[in-house]
């Protein structure tokens, strides 16, 4: 490999490498505790909301570095309404649909002002942040509303038994279903990768060296299997993971394979050129922000399930976790650049830092300092690497 190729490779996988280093660091400092099955489970369960919100936030950021400040409040409001409705005896599925509907309505409401009236997103969503935080307090009358529905908690990852039961009845201390799902995921990944490669070869398109494909496949299979085995040693697949996986897969597909995904990148890259290419840029904005509302509601559902309650303070500064994950994960503050896998890596990195420092018993306040530093470093890196590109 030439020097330039090595540099390009490093640039592409920087965050991945940093993640590995950070995990290694905490594994060393915590004496391996961070890699215990239970902690891996905690990493997923505690950060499920970040994964989901960050995915939605990515779409907003893609349109031109615009962010949505209201998500924390929407998480709280949707959760609060749902908790109260369930307490009043509403069927849990109806309540879930109502919560998602609230997210959709709030998203569409804000998106309308942003897309069609051209109110700056920062201001629209700042207003939304205040409005829905206030309304959450009003709805809950400043009190805590407990969530008791066992099925609800189980399905959305709350409480101690929020795992997919081992339908395959594996041996003691080993969730066979979890292992099987891991193997299946790997097989599907390998199938898609190599089928795509074969079809490209058949059509005569250029493909990357087979060596690269194999190396990448081996690494991904190893990581997935490691996670699956670790989880199987604890209690199996946390249900929250299913929702996260669903969101990541769907939005990964939307952003990389669909025309709407392409338009999100195009608007962020050059809005005028996109408009003159016959694309209704208003619809693109509308889609991004409406979608953010729905995902915020989903995060709200997961949050009240995990906490078994709704409180007026829930969701506080969740938007910052989401925004931070996006930028750490390589999204550009100017829009048009960023991927769902990148954002997930950013969110995992933040989660690992949180978890690692908690295990080490570092003070909450210092944790914030470290997270802020990581965010700043990531964006500085982004800006500097762009500068080198243009020279």
């Amino acid at each position: 490999m030439t020097k330039a190729k090595v540099a390009a490779w490093f640039k592409k996988y920087t965050m991945m490498l940093i993640l590995v280093l950070v995990v290694a660091f905490f594994a060393w400092r915590t004496g391996g505790k961070i890699l215990l099955p239970q902690n891996i489970n905690n990493l997923i369960a505690q950060n499920a909301y970040v994964f989901i919100l960050a995915t939605g936030m990515l779409l907003c950021i893609l349109t031109g570095g615009n962010i949505d400040l209201s998500v924390g409040s929407v998480v709280c409001f949707a959760g609060a309404v749902g908790a109260i409705l369930m307490a009043k005896g509403m069927n849990l599925w109806v309540a879930v649909i109502v919560m998602l509907g609230i997210g959709l309505a709030i998203g569409a409401f804000q998106a309308y002002w942003i897309a069609y009236v051209k109110v700056p997103p920062f201001i629209t969503t700042l207003a939304g942040m205040l409005i829905f935080r206030g309304l959450s307090n009003v709805v809950l009358q400043g009190k805590t509303q407990t969530v008791t529905d066992a099925t609800f908690k189980k399905v959305f990852g709350g409480g101690a038994e929020c795992f997919v039961p081992d339908l395959l009845k594996g041996p003691e201390g080993m969730n066979l279903l979890c292992v099987v799902v891991g193997v299946l995921a790997c097989l599907i990944y390998l199938f898609i990768t190599f089928r795509g490669r074969l079809s490209r070869v058949k059509k005569g398109y250029s493909v990357e060296p087979i060596f690269n494909t194999i190396i990448r496949s081996v690494i991904i299979v190893a990581v997935v299997m490691y996670f699956a085995l670790q989880l199987s040693k604890y209690k199996g697949i946390p249900t929250a993971l299913i929702w996260v996986a669903l969101v990541v897969l769907i939005y990964g597909y939307i952003t990389s394979k669909t025309t709407m995904g392409r338009y999100l990148y195009a608007v962020g890259g050059n809005e005028k050129a996109t408009k003159l290419s016959g694309i209704d840029t208003r619809k693109v904005y509308f889609f991004a922000y409406t979608n953010m509302g729905v995902l915020a509601a989903l995060a709200g559902i997961l949050t009240i399930a995990r906490m078994s309650s709704a409180q007026p303070t829930y969701g506080d500064s969740y938007e910052m976790d989401a925004i931070g994950s996006c930028f750490i994960g390589g999204a550009s503050a100017y829009g048009g650049v960023g991927t769902v896998p990148g954002v997930i890596i950013g969110a995992v990195l933040m989660g690992v830092i949180n978890l690692g420092m908690s295990i080490m018993g570092i003070d909450q306040n210092y944790q914030k300092v470290v997270k802020g530093g990581v965010l700043l470093a990531a964006v500085i890196f982004d800006v500097l690497s762009k500068k080198n590109d243009t020279k």
Partner: protein
Amino acid sequence: MSENILEMRNITKLFPGVKALDNVNLQVKKGTIHALVGENGAGKSTLMNVLSGIYPFGTYEGDIVYEGDICKFAKITDSEEKGIVIIHQELALVPYMTIGENMFLGNEQGRAFAIDWDTTYAEADKYLKVVGLNESSRTLIKDIGVGKQQMVEIAKALAKNARLLILDEPTSSLNEEDSKALLDLLLRFKAEGMTCIIISHKLNEVSYVADEITVIRDGATIETIDNAGHNIDEDRIIRGMVGREIEDRFPKRPHVEIGDVMLEVKDWTVYHPLYQEKKVVDDVSINVRKGEVVGISGLMGAGRTELAMSVFGRSYGTNISGTLLLDGKEVTLRNERAAIKAGLAYVTEDRKGNGLILSNPIRVNTTLANLEGVSSKGVIDPDKEYAVADEYRQKLRTKCTGVEQNVGNLSGGNQQKVLLAKWMFADPDVLILDEPTRGIDVGAKYEIYCIINDLVAQGKSVIMISSEMPELLGMSDRIYVMNEGRIVGEFMQEEATQEKMMAAILRSTTD
């Protein structure tokens, strides 16, 4: 007179992997206008950036001798102190500041904590008078035209006590009238003892204004031509620039059967989007036939771009009235999407601002206007997209490392090809090309003309808007002349001349 004010000796500048300048020598005599010509990427701007200290001493090899001393500029202010001032191609003015504020930006009058505004504006007015600009220095930059902004840039340079003025394509965005005024101003400065270096693609201007012409090709000086008589043959310069004879600047078009009227615009009137009482396009009626190239000539601000954009799905203007007929049928095009569906394409004059996504690869830009063409039910077929982009890359002979290269890293001519590819892939019947050859070099221009010929040979209609009259005369079957929002002349190719077109503009100009 024959004393050299500036001598650049054996300048060599390396960029990672590229030798941008290779032993360049340049001698500029005091009190003369010296032109630098060469194709895009030949190294003209790099050489001037070395001179002005943008690339500081130590990053290049060779010597800069200015007024007899060897200079080692570490930053721009070092060279400005010596009286070397560069005016870049892209104007560096802040739109929401006044002329006076702009002129003394970074050079504020008075003390750092107490700017002396009275002196600022008095001084500014003084320099405005010198350049012959009849504006108050308290006018905001955004309220004056590009031609006047260019004059402000010159006044700003004078305020820095410039003795060697470097202008990088100063007339590239000016119309003929403003260009002439600017060039005459330079001649006046010369008479007063100022030395100028001018970089330009417009050879008639170079011939008009320069005393000596240095040709640069591929990072090396080819020759310095004496032009004391101001009568040099343009082909002589072109020969030096491209290193070969260009027999014909416009490719011959094989005989194309001109068919029925494809697009007809009738009684088209458009008002300004902000100043809604201002008519930008005034009762215009034009048409273009199948297989025909129709030129639209006119000065900057004549309303040509506005006409084109308002026809293209009302992407410009308010209160648009008039009729559009496509292939004989009346159509209403409410937005860009409808216009593209109806078979129209508008290739913008501003390829960086309105045309391309510079941060994205060629592949993405090529398919943007017709993503349906490579997708089904909203899902993109990546292999097909790649194939399409690669096909157009080969067809238009775009020079790049591959279709995954970012458009921002291409030269102007190749960017223009990507932009054309994008609209060709949208498969329109009528292409409106707005200044398709602006800011690109002679070789690339020729290739763009060939593409236009291919398009009409397929029976498509082309409307070409251009400020370069020779180009319109060389390429069009028919030319409309536009002035102040109205069509003021229509000529068939055989009868059209620059003089007739200019006369049509001048006769119709009010006030």
